[in-house]
Every structure is written in C-alpha cells, then in structure tokens.
C-alpha cells in the first residue's frame, strides 16, 4: 500500500522522525483553517501519489489567508499526470539550508536492506544517480543484525553531509530504519531531507510503501485505507478481494495465478486482441470467487468477450466450472465466455461446461486457440 505524503509523515512521526507541523484539508475553507492553526508562512501541497508535483504547480507557498485561498482553489481538482487532487496537506514552511536524500528498501539480488544517502538531494536525485553515482553513499544492512549507530555514523560520514548535520542525521536515520523494519515498509524514502539554518535535520517529504502482507500485525494501518484512488471496476474488485488491473480493451480476462494471468494478457495481445483487464482469481479459488470475478468483468461496458484461462493446481477446475455456470444463472452476462480448463480435476470441470455449452459458453482445448476465439468474438468476426 502506497501512502500519501501526509500519511507517510504521520507514520514517520510515530517513530519519532522530525516532520513539519501540518494538517489536511479537502476544501478551500478547510485549507485556510488549517493554515491559521499551523501558522504562516505555510506550504500548500497537493496529495497525489505521483512524482513531479512541484513542477506541475501542485506545491505553493502562502503567506496569508488570501494566498492560501487562492492556491488551494487552484490546486484542488487539479489533474497531475492523470491524478486528480482531492486533498491538500498544509504545513509550516521550512527554511532550507541544504537538501539531502535518504531511503531504505530491499535489495532483491543481495537479499539485504539497501540504505542510500546523498548530500545532493532534491528533485533531481535520479539525475545525480546517473551522472555521479559516487554522490550516493550506499550501505547494505543485514536484516538479522539491523543498523547499529556506529555503522550509521560511518555511512553519514561517507555521504559527506555538512558537519552540523551529522548528529541530527544519525539520529534521524536510525529512526528511519526503525520505521522501515518495525513498521514493515517496502520503501521508506525522504527527498528532500533538509538541514535548516538553525542546524536541525528533518523530513520535508515522505514516500512510504507498506507491505500488504504485514497488515495483520498493524491495526494502525486501518486509517490509511480510505483515500486510495481506484476506478469503479478496481473498487468493486478490491471489495471482492480480487487482484484486478483495468485496461482499455474489449477482451475480459480471468486467470488463476499472476503468472498465468499476465501470460493470458500477453497472448491476447499477440493474436491481435485488446485485453480489457488483468484479473487473477488466485490460488484455491472456488465457485463463489468465479461468480465474483465474472460480476466484476460484467461491470466493464467495453467487454465483448470473456476469456477464462485456468490451470488448476490449488484451484480445482470443477469448482471453477460450477462458478461459471452459477454466474451465468445469476447474472445477465454482457458477453460470451470462452473457457479453457486444464490441471486439477479438469475432466470433471470440462464435463460440467460441456453439459452447459452454448453460443454463450464455448470451451476450447488449449490456450492459443482459446485466445484466438475470444479475440474473434470480441472483434465481431
């Protein structure tokens, strides 16, 4: 789960990481009230999960209520790279002497945690990485040992942060690691991490991705869930617990396992069709899950054919077949189904489909021909 900046800062604050005081606002009036409470000057910041907010005009300084009113009015509803701004974060403006960069994430090939720290933070950190990789100090942290103060201090020295920033940076980075590990983050990133003229080090931005698998041990994550941006189809799928990604085409796709679902999207493209979605019903799907999947696909007005591609392992093909038949009885499906079943209990599953076969339910023996058939139907051939 990706957090918005203000949520990331709230999460940082739980672990003692210094952040600027601020408040959220969903309307212009709320923005003014937030600014009065926080104290001028303030920064009005668009809350969208996409980079380049500042360049798009989504971050503005305001010195009084009129300026807040003006900027909040402009930014609310703004479209930043396809993300509509629905919420603002109003925070006390900071004096900036220096901008640094800091992050922790998993290095998948080394299987250790990767810490990156640079004295050249700010908007162009990716450029810095390309042009002058030595400007980014890197450490690998063994997850069993964690990050010690001594190692952290040496890391800060290698990154050549300003002398007056060293103590504050060591303290903040240890807390950031704590947040990353105890807080079950996939990514904890601060860009920029700032040094103020008063010699304080603090987080001016927050990019946090939480590990969804760790949710059972983090009841406090509940508050982060409200504002996720999804289209109507994705929302319905999420409610039904399905892995769904909306696409633009006309062939609805249901498969089991992320790998097979991706391969199904690929093969529909390769035979000249346009997938309407990626939908993984997961392992061990039963009839009910298939009914839900078909209900979600049926919400998409662009779908002209539905390709169900199942290779049973944990999933049993007879359960899938029962779900297909049940869904056809319960829901008026907008498009015909082309189904291909193999693997666990495929014989039983195919028998169920054969008994119910029609122009609306077509069974194909293999993946390639099933894809071709589904595409032909979707294109009206």
């Amino acid at each position: 789960m990706d957090l918005f900046e203000y949520q990331g800062k709230q999460y940082f604050a739980r672990y003692g990481i210094p952040v600027s005081p601020g408040a959220v606002a969903d309307t212009v009036d709320e923005a003014v009230a937030a600014a009065e409470q926080v104290g001028y000057p303030v920064v009005v910041k668009a809350q969208v999960q996409v980079g380049g907010r500042g360049k798009a005009g989504g971050i503005k300084l305001a010195n009084n209520a009129d300026e807040v009113r003006f900027h909040a009015g402009n930014i609310l509803g703004m479209d930043i790279k396809g993300h509509i701004v629905r919420r603002l974060w109003i925070e006390r403006a900071s004096d900036i002497k220096k901008e640094y960069y800091a992050s922790f994430t998993l290095d998948r090939s080394k299987k250790k945690f990767l810490g990156m720290l640079s004295a050249q933070g700010g908007v162009d950190i990716e450029e810095v990485a390309k042009k002058d990789p030595s400007a980014i100090a890197i450490i690998y942290v063994d997850p069993v040992d964690g990050l010690s103060e001594a190692v952290c201090r040496q890391w800060v020295q290698e990154a050549k942060l300003d002398a007056e920033a060293v103590e504050g940076a060591v303290d903040l980075l240890l807390k950031l690691y704590d947040c990353f590990s105890k807080g079950d983050c996939d990514l904890a990133e601060i860009n920029p991490l700032i040094l103020t003229p008063a010699g304080k080090v603090h987080a001016l931005d927050a990019k946090v991705t939480l590990d969804d698998s760790a949710e059972p041990r983090h009841p406090e994550w509940e508050e982060f869930k409200g504002l996720r941006q999804m289209d109507a189809r994705e929302k319905l799928a999420a409610e039904k617990g399905l892995q769904y990604v909306g696409l633009e085409g006309s062939v609805g796709i249901i498969a089991n396992g992320a790998g097979l679902a991706m391969a199904t999207v690929d093969i529909v493209n390769q035979v000249g069709g346009k997938p309407a979605n990626f939908l993984d019903i997961g392992g061990g799907a039963n009839a009910e899950v298939m009914v839900n999947a078909l209900t979600v696909i049926n919400e998409d007005p662009n779908v002209n054919a539905i390709f169900i591609n199942i290779f049973g392992g944990i999933t049993r093909c007879d359960e899938v077949a029962k779900g297909i038949v049940e869904a056809m009885n319960r829901v008026a499906l907008r498009a015909p189904i082309v189904a291909r079943l193999d693997g666990t209990n495929a014989t039983e599953g195919r028998a169920i489909l054969t008994a119910n076969a029609s122009e609306r339910l077509i069974m194909m023996p293999d993946m390639l021909n099933a894809a071709k058939r589904a595409v032909a139907i979707a294109e009206g051939k």
């Binding site: 698998s213 790998g259 999207v265 690929d266 093969i267 493209n269």
Partner: protein
C-alpha cells in the same frame, strides 16, 4: 535422476493436520511421495490417514528418518516452522505459505544462511516441486507431467510451470524435475540455484526457465548462463510483456534497477545469453524440441 526430490525422499509435513495441509499431503502421498510424518504439538500421538503426527520436526527426523520438510502453515507461523525444520537437521525445506511479510522473509533468508548454510529452502509462496514418476510436494498437478526426463523446469509462477509441463507432455517430452521458486521478494532458492543443479544432473538435457516482470532475477540468471559457461540449452519465457508500466513510488527503485525489471529487458538478456525465448507459453514445446535437436 532428479534434483532435490526423488523416490528416496522422506517427507514431514508441518501443517498436515490443517485442511490445506491434509488435502495436499494426502494428494502428494497418493502420487507416491513418501509422506512419513506430520507435526502438531497439540495432536502428537494421533495420525492422519495412517501418517503419524509428532510434536516436533526433530522427532519426525529421529523416528521416521524425515529428510525433507513440507511447510504448509499460516503466514505468521511459517518463518518459525522453517527455522524449526532447519534446526532439526532437515536439508531441504519446501515452504508454500503465501503472504509472509517481506521483513520476515529477509530475516529468515539471512538467518538460515548464517546458522544452517547447507540447508536449502524452496519458496516461500511457491507451488512446490515435482519429480515426475518419483515424488511430488505441493500444488503441482502431476497428471499433466511425463516421467523420464530429459527436461528440467524452473518457474517463479506456479500456474505457468503447470502450463510448461503440459506443453512438454503434449509434445511427447518428459521432465526430470519441475521446480517452483515462487514470486516473493526474498526466495530461498533462485533461478541460478536451479540452473546449477540441472546442469549437474546427468538426466537433464535441457532447461525451461519461466520468469516474469519485476526484480532482476532473470537478468542475473542470464549473466550466470554466460559466466558459468552453462552447457545445457535453456528455453525461456517471460510473462508480463504487455503489462502496463506499474506506477512506482519514490526514486529508490529507479536509482537501483535502471532498465532491469521489464519483460523486454529480461528477454533481451536471455537471448543474448543464448537462450531460446518463447513469446508465449504455447511455443515452449517446439522450442525445446529445437533445443534437443529432435
């Protein structure tokens, strides 16, 4: 021959008394796998369809000679279950459990490497391992496989491994072992481990490798193929060629991964390493025939 699992493997199932563990444990036994024990401290002394339940893996090792552990327990218990099996001296552990938190996986991997460096963990979140005609652990539907070799399969995705088995069997080509390494961030066994094991297995003559977008494991495998001078031909498929570019957050991924992670980049790396790269899974049979000179 086969890699890591064969007719002499004696398997203890951690989670045999749960509904999933029971279903797959018994299904694997019905295939011929020697399922010799289950564990559950609260049900020690009972049995599941004749399979004795012990309080600990150590007891299963001592009394039944278990030398493989099949971990099929809930996600918050899985890391501890793997460590228990390793501490009991089990050299090969298959963990199918899904949704183990990333930080737990990372700790588990590094702890295992430190305390039990010779122990092999397969998974987590993998489909399991099948040596056709010999033994099966996990979810793989063995009925679509064909015993006798000569092809080894290694796949991140479970369902695509099944698809590969099916394509080969339909083409009249048998398999030595089909390994699911799982798609989680910190897998215990990598593509490279499987490639090395298949290279060393005299019965395996060609290797099918199935990857997917994300991470850099496929690029590393390509590098390994070149650097190790791998002699056996590799047929590869990468899923996600037309996946929409995922939105990414922050810069850490971009700074570290560069061009790695895309299907295009992975396919190019494997092609450059001499692998035959399929554009979809239904091409696997024909490409393997070509690789075997049939």
């Amino acid at each position: 021959m086969a890699i890591w699992l064969d007719e002499n493997s004696r398997v203890v199932v951690q989670g045999l008394t749960g509904s999933q563990g029971r279903f797959y444990g018994l299904r694997n036994r019905a295939y011929g796998t020697k399922i010799v024990a289950g564990t559950n401290p609260k049900k020690a002394g009972t049995d599941v369809e004749g399979i004795p339940i012990f309080a600990s893996v150590r007891e299963a090792v001592e009394k039944e000679g278990a030398n493989v552990a099949f971990v099929i327990v809930p996600e918050m218990m899985a890391a501890a279950a793997v460590m228990e099996a390793a501490a009991a001296g089990v050299p090969f552990i298959v963990c199918v459990t899904e949704h183990i938190p990333m930080h737990d996986q990372a700790k588990l991997f590094n702890q295992l490497k430190r305390d039990y460096p010779t122990t092999r963990l397969l998974g987590p979140n993998c489909a399991g391992i099948l040596s056709p005609g010999k033994a099966n652990i996990g979810f793989t539907p063995a009925e679509v496989s064909k015993p006798g070799g000569p092809v080894g399969i290694v796949s991140r995705s479970g369902t695509l491994a099944y698809q590969a088995l099916y394509e080969l069997t339909e083409s009249g080509i048998g398999q030595t072992t089909c390994v699911g390494i799982g798609g989680d961030p910190v897998p215990g066994t990598s593509f490279i481990d499987a490639l090395a094991a298949f290279e060393a297995d005299p019965e395996t003559q060609a290797i099918v490798m199935i990857g997917e977008i994300g991470g850099s494991a496929e690029e590393e495998a390509a590098e390994y193929i070149v650097q190790s001078g791998l002699k056996k031909p590799v047929v590869a498929y990468i899923a996600g060629q037309s996946a929409p570019p995922g939105k990414r957050m922050g810069h850490a991924g971009a700074i570290t991964s560069g061009n790695k992670g895309t299907a295009k980049g992975k396919m190019a790396a494997l092609t450059a390493a001499g692998a035959l790269v399929a554009s979809n899974p239904t091409e696997i049979g024909a490409l393997v025939k070509q690789a075997l000179g049939r």
